[in-house]
């Protein structure tokens, strides 16, 4: 903690419950889920630049899905919605995983080039595969658990590029329909995990605001499409 940080308001448990809402792939379906429990999301749908919204006694804070565990762990948000893929990658964040919201279903897979054996060949002749991914921890854990050695290369942008230009023999990535893989001449070789949107809670909020948290969880459970 730096001295300057002291005057900034710290995460504080009080006032309306704060719910972290993911922008990006889960945005639309999350807003639909919030509609179904009777929240007014018109303002959020209309104004794409504002970050914080108030709706029916809740404060909705919008952010990248991968930031949700960070805010919730610190108590800057009491609850949050994010993908299981994010939780798997950040498994050391202490947040309570409360509910599978069902939408945003996709799979974490190992993929290689269609009809190309370089994954197997690399393993056989070079002792290990080179794998490009945005999920280095998931990938490392997976290869460790399956007793294989792999050089995991973290990339930030389109992972599909890496095997096409020879940066990697294969990729570990999230797949919803598989169309992106197909368009880039890649195919699924192994499934690592299933993912969908999850509701997570801060550890202290889950205890000290138990009734409010349980109420919201119950409404979201009932509202599941």
């Amino acid at each position: 903690m730096t001295p300057q940080a002291v005057e900034a308001p710290r995460a504080r448990l009080g006032g309306p419950l704060k719910l972290a809402v993911p922008r990006g792939a889960l945005w639309g379906e999350t807003l639909d889920a919030l509609d179904r429990i009777g929240l007014d999301t018109a303002e959020m749908r209309a104004d794409s630049r504002a970050l914080v919204f108030n709706s029916n006694g809740l404060t909705l804070v919008t952010m990248r899905p991968s930031d949700v565990p960070t805010y919730v762990e610190a108590g800057a948000a009491d609850l949050g919605i994010t993908g299981k893929d994010v939780l798997l990658e950040q498994s050391d964040r202490i947040v309570y995983e409360i509910l599978d919201l069902g939408y945003g279903a996709c799979r974490m897979v190992l993929a290689g080039r269609e009809g190309d054996e370089s994954l197997g060949e690399a393993e056989r002749r070079l002792g290990g595969m080179r794998i490009a991914t945005k999920y280095p921890r998931v990938a490392e854990r997976y290869f460790e658990e399956t007793g294989r050695q792999a050089e995991v290369i973290e990339v930030k942008g389109s992972v599909e590029l890496a095997p096409l230009v020879g940066l990697a023999d294969g990729i570990v990535d999230l797949v919803a329909t598989g169309r992106t893989l197909e368009e880039n001449g890649l195919e699924i070789r192994e499934e690592i995990a299933a993912s969908s949107a999850r509701l997570v809670a801060n550890r202290v909020s889950h205890k000290l605001r138990a009734a409010e948290v349980d109420n919201l969880v119950e409404r979201l459970r009932r509202g599941k499409s």
Partner: protein
């Protein structure tokens, strides 16, 4: 010149040190007042000693070899060194024994997580006094300590470490299934818990419902009634243990800040029976924890029931600052309201 220090550690400068020192001495004097004499143990222990206490290895302690090739560890916790001290130095002294401590402990951190390698821990150990009286005494001291440092709103979450182990045994869940369910409970991953429970073969609907509903039970005395409705020997016994402790806490006048919590499962390997977590509404992290560890001292050769708690002082300090700021905010609001009222009354009725 800039000379770096390892991430997760920091220098403490006079302003902060003054406040931390005040915090430490408030706590230590309070502990002494309750008869808990302060002890200090070495920062370095033989790794074998810490592992004997943990009952398993590798819980994030820094380890290294000394000049003779002995494996040493930086203490990651204050309770195990005190268990060692009691068995070695107080082998013949009649119980109960009461000790307090304040000191630094060390744990391995993951980079870029804002985790600290070194943290200041203060707490007490009550050795040779069994449940529920011993537990209630420890929680009474804890409550007084929180008041003494100005955290009047702090809450004690009280659960039972044996509940799920005994419940799974009662339900006949063993082996990998058992390990998976306990892991999910410790992470408080309710989605994963449901999946793990559904993988158990031959579990009846009632057993399933009990395992899935218990982790949601937290609150006042009504929680024990809800547990009672779920039934079963293990749940019944845990509810009974909690009830006995809770009744004593009512007598001591601290039950008002206690939240009964059947979802608690602390990650340290030595807890038995009552377990405690400490929360303050001003902070999103737990302030500390504790509970009973009736088997720990026995691992060092003198079997005695025991209980204790430890507070993370840096977090307590942070919560103090937050509470002060909130109080300032409230009194500023009150002043603003007062002056508005005065203005209105000076202007006369509108």
């Amino acid at each position: 010149m800039i000379h770096p220090i390892p991430p997760g550690s920091r220098d403490i400068l006079p302003d902060e040190m003054r406040e931390l020192r005040a915090l430490q001495s408030t706590l230590i004097e309070l502990f002494e007042g309750f008869g808990y004499g302060q002890v200090a143990t070495p920062t370095l222990e033989y790794d074998e000693v810490l592992q004997r206490g943990e009952g398993r290895s590798g819980l994030g302690a820094y380890r290294f070899f000394d000049e003779r090739g002995e494996l040493l560890a930086l203490r990651s916790d204050m309770t195990i060194p005190i268990a060692r001290l009691v068995a070695t130095r107080f082998a013949d002294v009649p119980p109960p024994l009461r000790f307090s401590y304040v000191g630094n402990a060390y744990r391995i951190v993951r980079p870029q997580r804002g985790q600290v390698r070194q943290f200041m821990h203060a707490g007490i150990e009550l050795i040779g006094s069994s449940a529920p009286e011993g537990t209630a005494e420890v929680l009474g001291v804890l409550s007084a300590a929180l008041d003494a440092v100005g955290l009047n709103r702090a809450v004690l979450g009280l659960g039972d470490a044996d509940l799920y182990r005994q419940l799974l045994t009662e339900l006949g869940v063993e082996g990998e299934d058992r390990g998976r369910i306990l892991d999910r409970l410790a992470e408080h991953n309710l989605v994963g818990l449901e999946a793990a429970v559904d993988e158990v073969e031959g579990l009846d609907a009632h057993g399933r419902e009990t395992l899935l509903r218990l982790p949601g039970l937290r609150g006042g005395a009504e929680v024990l009634e809800q547990a009672h409705e779920l039934g079963g020997i293990a749940v019944e016994r845990a509810a009974q243990r909690l009830q006995e402790t809770y009744d004593l806490l009512v007598e001591r006048g601290v039950a008002g800040r206690v939240q009964l919590d059947l979802s608690l499962l602390r990650d340290l390997g030595y807890y038995t029976g009552a377990i405690v977590e400490i929360y303050d509404p001003a902070l999103g992290h737990i302030l500390g924890g504790g509970g009973r560890y009736d088997e720990l001292i026995g691992r060092f050769g003198r079997a005695m029931p025991a209980a204790g708690f430890g507070l993370y002082l840096e977090r307590v300090h942070l919560a103090q600052m937050e509470e002060e700021r909130l109080t300032r905010g409230r009194s500023a609001d009150a002043r603003a309201r007062d002056s508005a009222t005065r203005e209105r009354s000076e202007k006369g009725p509108l």
